[in-house]
């Protein structure tokens, strides 16, 4: 059966949010939403799960802390201890206060860059990638809700009349085999 993709356009974030609630209540799955800015309260309605990026940031930070301490232990204690004004140069623990700033900075460095790279990869936004928003107006002032007929048991006529119950501005339909 041919899969039809409905792009339902709204001119206001609140209208889209109400429409999404309306169609979801009827058991329709909203495949995607394109908007010029984050719409608060939309994610639970269309079933977008909370991102785990913050957890990755913590993991990268831990990696940074470990690397920084291991590195400083190797450079300053193990490989070539330097006697600078009699400061402790023979044990990591006693030399630790002087290592706090670099440990902190390097942890932040790893957390920020690690998370940013993960974010770009997960979003599939990288230099030179083509834009995939269905209408150029969705980065300006329009809001699009994408519904696939193949995911929903409802007939096309019923789906269209359901969509028309909302404050829709434009509706475009694409057919895929």
């Amino acid at each position: 059966m041919a899969n039809k993709i409905y792009h339902v356009m709204y001119d206001d974030d609140a209208k889209l949010l109400n429409a999404a609630k309306h169609v979801v209540a009827k058991g329709i799955h909203v495949k995607e939403v394109y908007s010029p800015f984050p719409i608060h309260g939309l994610d639970p309605v269309i079933g977008v799960k909370r991102t785990r990026l913050a957890i990755t940031a913590f993991m990268y930070a831990t990696m940074g802390t470990t690397l920084a301490l291991a590195g400083m232990y190797y450079f300053m204690i193990y490989d070539w201890p330097m006697n600078i004004g009699g400061k402790p140069s023979f044990s990591l623990l006693e030399n630790l206060p002087a290592f706090v700033p670099v440990t902190f900075e390097f942890s932040v460095f790893c957390a920020a860059h690690g998370m940013a790279i993960t974010y770009l990869l997960r979003n599939e936004t990288l230099p030179g990638m083509p834009a995939t928003n269905p209408d150029p107006r969705t980065t300006d002032n329009m809001f699009i809700m994408e519904i696939h007929t193949s995911e929903n048991g409802m007939s096309e006529g019923d789906l269209e009349s359901l969509i028309n119950e909302t404050e829709v501005l434009e509706l475009s339909v694409k057919t895929f085999e």
């Binding site: 800015f37 719409i39 450079f75 300053m76 936004t125 030179g128 834009a131 002032n141």
Partner: protein, 458 residues
């Protein structure tokens, strides 16, 4: 939707729609630049070229062309470095700390303040770079395996902490700024018609499409980056202050330095943001987005941080007497009555007295006075670093080594040059980048926009 008290002043004036916000920001990028922009960039470009010329001369000849001598072996170079890093701090404070506090007024100013941060940190990093003399071996500050045996950089040194702090600060600020820019570049990309500019902004926008999941991640990443940039910004200037505080020079080795430097940094940074934005809002017609209320908020930050700086000056003076250390006492008596007392009193007037004028509502809501005072504050903050550095050094423990510092044409030329480079970069930013955070402003339009607040339509 989030509601805001009716008595709170709106943050976006007039009857703006989402489309108006896009038009107001993207318009200046698409349309030809106005004549004043060309005039300004010519002037700043010439100053920048002169500065680059001075830097080339310095690198070619050696740092003897500066006025440094055996006694005062740090002067304008590190003064300029600390001044520029300090200016940078406002951008991160606005974008990160105010994000954590959910201050909506930051959304109109964060983009340009962050740009200012990045350019200011580049200017700051120039100074330790060229002070090395041989810029091309600058990578020796990193712990790299080398051919000199087991020689590593010294991780006990605050100067090395600074290398890590500044490079982390610069790169994290850049990433934070760029992640916010990606959706706005996408907005410009979708507006443009000409193929070449469209292609350029398409590459810059990384193919951003504004999917629901992308926005969820975007908000999470912004929040976490703000969360880690907040301790980072405090750590950076603390570490800069430790360049001095861990030494044994009277007037430098005080425990008050980290908080004192951090508040001084925010103080000067906000002043610089005001200087730039008061011009930018006028030239780019952004009066509806950056208006008197924003200026008032920033002036309140200036009162708070300026007062902390004032208290720190007085505390330093008191402790130098109360400590009973004669060298310490002398350092401070010499500061306000010695050969550099003129600099001390410029600093006191500009940094302690002038910000107190903002207690008057009429003054802190007056744009012309704010503009003048913002420049006064930045002059004062430059002199603060000059006073701390030069007056502490010019009187050695050994009186036969006493000396004075006199700036040379190269000292002045390089400093003025960095102001030129900074301004040129900022002008290029204002011409080709979205100067307001479009996607963030649109989220507050309904809660803080004038026409929505007063229910004039909708």
């Amino acid at each position: 939707m989030h509601r805001e008290a009716a008595i709170r002043e709106p943050l976006i004036l007039g009857h703006k729609t989402y489309k108006d916000i896009t038009d107001d920001v993207v318009g200046p990028i698409i349309n030809p630049a106005p004549r004043p922009w060309y005039i300004l960039i010519t002037i700043t470009g010439l100053i920048a070229l002169y500065g680059i010329g001075c830097i080339m001369y310095l690198i070619g000849t050696g740092i003897g062309v500066w006025g440094l001598n055996k006694t005062v072996d740090w002067a304008w170079d590190i003064t300029n470095f600390v001044w520029w890093v300090g200016i940078g701090h406002a951008g991160t404070l606005i974008s990160a700390v105010l994000l954590l506090f959910r201050q909506k007024w930051r959304m109109a100013i964060n983009r340009s303040a962050e740009a200012m941060t990045i350019f200011a940190v580049i200017m700051a990093a120039t100074f330790p770079g060229i002070h090395m003399g041989r810029l091309w071996v600058g990578y020796w500050v990193l712990p790299l395996p080398n051919q000199f045996g087991s020689l590593w950089v010294n991780f006990n040194s605050p100067l090395l902490w600074d290398v890590f702090a500044i490079s982390t600060y610069f790169s994290v600020s850049l990433v934070f700024w760029y992640i916010g820019l990606i959706p706005d570049f996408a907005t410009i990309r979708d507006r443009l018609v000409k193929p070449l500019p469209k292609k350029i902004y398409s590459i810059l926008s990384f193919g951003w499409s504004g999917r629901a999941k992308n926005w969820t991640r975007f908000e999470e990443v912004s929040l976490v980056l703000a969360g880690i940039a907040t301790p980072l910004v405090f750590s950076v200037h603390s570490i800069v202050s430790m360049d001095f505080a861990t030494s044994v020079i009277p007037g430098w080795h005080t425990t008050i330095f980290p908080p004192y430097f951090v508040s001084g940094a925010v103080f000067s940074g906000f002043a610089m943001v005001l200087t730039l934005l008061l011009i930018m809002r006028k030239v780019m017609r952004l009066e509806a987005y950056i208006h008197v209320k924003h200026v008032e908020y920033m002036n309140i930050v200036i009162i708070v941080t300026g007062s902390i700086v004032g208290v720190a000056y007085l505390t330093e003076l008191f402790v130098s007497w109360y400590s009973g250390v004669e060298y310490e006492s002398y350092a401070f008596i010499n500061r306000f009555s010695g050969p550099y007392s003129w600099a001390y009193w410029i600093m006191m007037t500009c940094n302690v007295i002038s910000p107190q004028l903002f207690w008057f509502k009429k003054i802190r809501r007056n744009l012309i006075l704010t503009f003048i005072l913002s420049i006064v504050v930045n002059i004062g903050m430059w002199f603060e670093r000059y006073v701390i550095i030069v007056t502490s050094l010019h009187r050695d423990y050994n009186p036969s080594s006493w000396g004075e510092f006199h700036a040379t044409a190269m000292d002045i030329g390089i400093f003025i040059g960095t102001i030129g480079i900074f301004s040129t970069l900022f002008l290029l930013f204002a011409r080709f980048f979205p100067v307001l955070a479009l996607n963030e402003l649109k989220t507050i339009l309904k809660s803080s926009g004038e026409s929505y607040k007063n229910d004039k339509h909708h």
